[in-house]
Symmetry: none
Subunit: 403 residues, 2 copies
């Protein structure tokens, strides 16, 4: 990973601006032997020009062969070793919707689910009920009182919500209640450490009361809790790398992980790449590091829709001139992990990287942005957390090491 002590010593402020453009799950695979990947198939004249002028490479977010979740994938892009800094999904979701998780609090991600008359789960996502319906259920759950603690429950999207428990002596050393399969009831919360006993008891009480409230509802007549977690108190991005960072992302989850490292989330209208780049233009003078998150590449990859994923990449490419017009000093185009449409899921394949820095990048021999080209690129194959030092170097923000 990036050596934080070394970065703190060498990183220095400058007027240069760095853009980290993340197309979630951009890395792909051919669907037919000898065919192109999604990125290679896309018509993307802007990206290809940048590839010819800049430098390519490929990155491993967590380790060779390891498939990253969204949290580890992004932490890694921000320079943090995801094996060292483990962030619970509960905290990520909470931060994403603007719910604070204090130093003594425990957050969990909730799913509404459907159970049969015997309490056995028949649908782990309650038919992905609409966010509006989910919000009404959350309002009811918000009335539950548990002695000795305070509870905050908030809707996220569709069947997902967040619950945060606040009070003295809590601990996130807890097991999840989602059995990860249907035909069995939700599991009780158990403490994995004696210091979690009180918290487990309080959560089980809350779940029991919630079960009574939901019993008459359909299809969401029960819930599960996952990702119990507290504030990981991460070292702050701005302190380590001496940048003033902003985040432009449509989905709460990604604003959440960015907020965890201290990036300022930017509110904006719309949800297209054009909208996101317009939001960047609006704050261009106020920050010097810009994290932009594009979700569609991952969503269409998980759908298994190769052509739709190609189209998302093409849309980002078409919108790119507005971003380039801002004249970033360093532009990084990459993903947090690969999501090949062929596999319909996140994968362990190295993530393609394009680095463009007109004044400081050493061009390689590659002229097209694609996985095959990135594998031969001038930046080589390296661990994703090293991207930040590379980015700072190309922005002339790292002092020389030693005389």
């Amino acid at each position: 990973m990036a050596d934080f002590e070394l970065m703190r010593t060498l990183a220095q402020s400058a007027k240069t601006k760095i853009v980290l453009l993340v197309m979630d799950g951009v890395g792909g695979m051919p669907v037919a032997p000898g065919g192109p990947t999604e990125l290679e198939a896309a018509q993307k004249p802007n990206f290809n020009r940048l590839a010819a002028e800049g430098c390519l490479g490929q990155m491993n977010p967590v380790g060779y062969g390891i498939t990253p979740g969204s949290g580890p994938g992004h932490l890694s892009l921000f320079g943090y070793d995801p094996l060292k800094f483990d962030i619970g999904r509960g905290v990520l979701e909470a931060f994403g919707i603007g719910v604070e998780v204090g130093s003594d609090d425990v957050a969990a991600r909730g799913n509404f689910c459907t159970v049969d008359s015997g309490g056995r789960i028949t649908d782990r996502r309650a038919g992905r009920i609409a966010t509006e319906a989910s919000s009404k259920l959350v309002e009811k759950l918000a009335k539950i009182k548990i002695p000795g603690v305070e509870m905050e429950v908030r809707p996220v999207k569709e069947h997902r919500f967040v619950v945060v428990m606040r009070g003295p002596g809590l601990s996130a050393c807890l097991t999840e209640t989602d059995p990860q399969k249907t035909g069995v009831p939700p599991l009780p919360v158990k403490a994995t450490d004696p210091k979690g006993e009180k918290t487990a008891k309080a959560f089980n009480e809350w779940i029991a009361q919630a079960g009574k409230i939901l019993a008459g509802e359909a299809p969401a007549n029960m819930l599960t809790l996952r990702g119990f977690s507290g504030d990981p108190r991460l070292p702050q991005f701005a302190d380590i790398f001496k940048v003033h960072p902003a985040c432009v992302a449509v989905y709460p989850m990604y604003r959440g992980v960015a907020k965890l490292v201290g990036m300022q989330g930017i509110a904006f209208e719309g949800d297209t790449p054009e909208d996101e780049f317009r939001a960047i233009a609006g704050i261009w003078n106020d920050f010097d590091f810009f994290f932009i998150h594009i979700k569609g590449t991952d969503s269409r990859g998980e759908d298994g829709d190769f052509d739709a994923k190609v189209k998302v990449i093409e849309k980002v490419d078409a919108a790119l001139p507005a971003l380039l017009a801002l004249k970033p000093d360093v532009l990084l185009v990459t993903g947090d992990h690969s999501t090949p449409a062929k596999l319909k899921s996140h994968s362990w394949h190295p993530v393609p990287l394009l680095l463009w820095a007109p004044e400081t990048a050493r061009p390689d021999a590659e002229t097209v942005f694609g996985e095959r080209m990135c594998a031969r690129g001038g930046l080589g194959t390296f661990p994703t957390p090293e991207l930040m030092p590379i980015a700072l170097a190309h922005a002339l923000r790292l002092a020389k090491y030693g005389a």
Copy 2:
């Protein structure tokens, strides 16, 4: 870094000979879009033949994105992790001019500077005064007596000199006096640890007396001290790698760092690549590891003179037949870091590497020695300290690991 314990176990003596030819700062960049780098632009038929017969790669001396100083860059080439073995500039300079730094001594690098009537620095290098003028000032400073310690002052080159303090109870835990800017006076030496108090006081006394002696001089009427450091007592190269190493270098600094790891510096006439290769021929039967340092590539890179840097590379190439006539078993051609003429400074870009070993190298598909080709070379991209194990392996000097 090279695993010293593993090396000590596996390395073995042999009759094979290894040459490490370092063109300081050889890595470069195009000055025009799509153009060649300095190395790519050079007419270098000998290097290109070796590239075709051998194997290319690229290396990171300190870490991804980190720009190395000369000390760390060379330590790394010698197999030492420069983040673990931190050598002060004072010691490096002292060793380079043959001044001993004993286990209790503290060395500093001095700069003559110019101050105005208010004691404020107006030129941190006193107009880079000639070495002869500097030597005369050093003679005067050599007369200063400080109770309880012995002082040795010696000229290096231009405005630079070395001062070594000897005596019991000294410590290099000291702050530098160069404020790194003009318009302010030199700073006092301060101890960063209580054990440095005595040393700080003695250096401040010496500086006060030096100031009186220099007061009537021009332009060098004051001095600053940097890089306070003691003998780092490095593990010795010969012990770790089981070679008998020699160093041929024109500049003191590089003989200094080679001496730190126990290489024997070779005195020779002249300062061209031909002269250096002739010096190697003269000691060919007495050693089995030869570190040759070529300075011009770095100097012309720092000047921002692309064409002159190209010419230095061409001169080394033209002289190469004399080196090849010695029939080294392994020849490594690389740099301690990149110094692109475009940036006029050391840089973080990976350093191109050519490995030629007619009996043992596995050739790759590349046929020209250049940065774009090295990025695709058979040795991949790797940390510079791993070069030594690779060199020993190609010299058949490493035993098999495990049965």
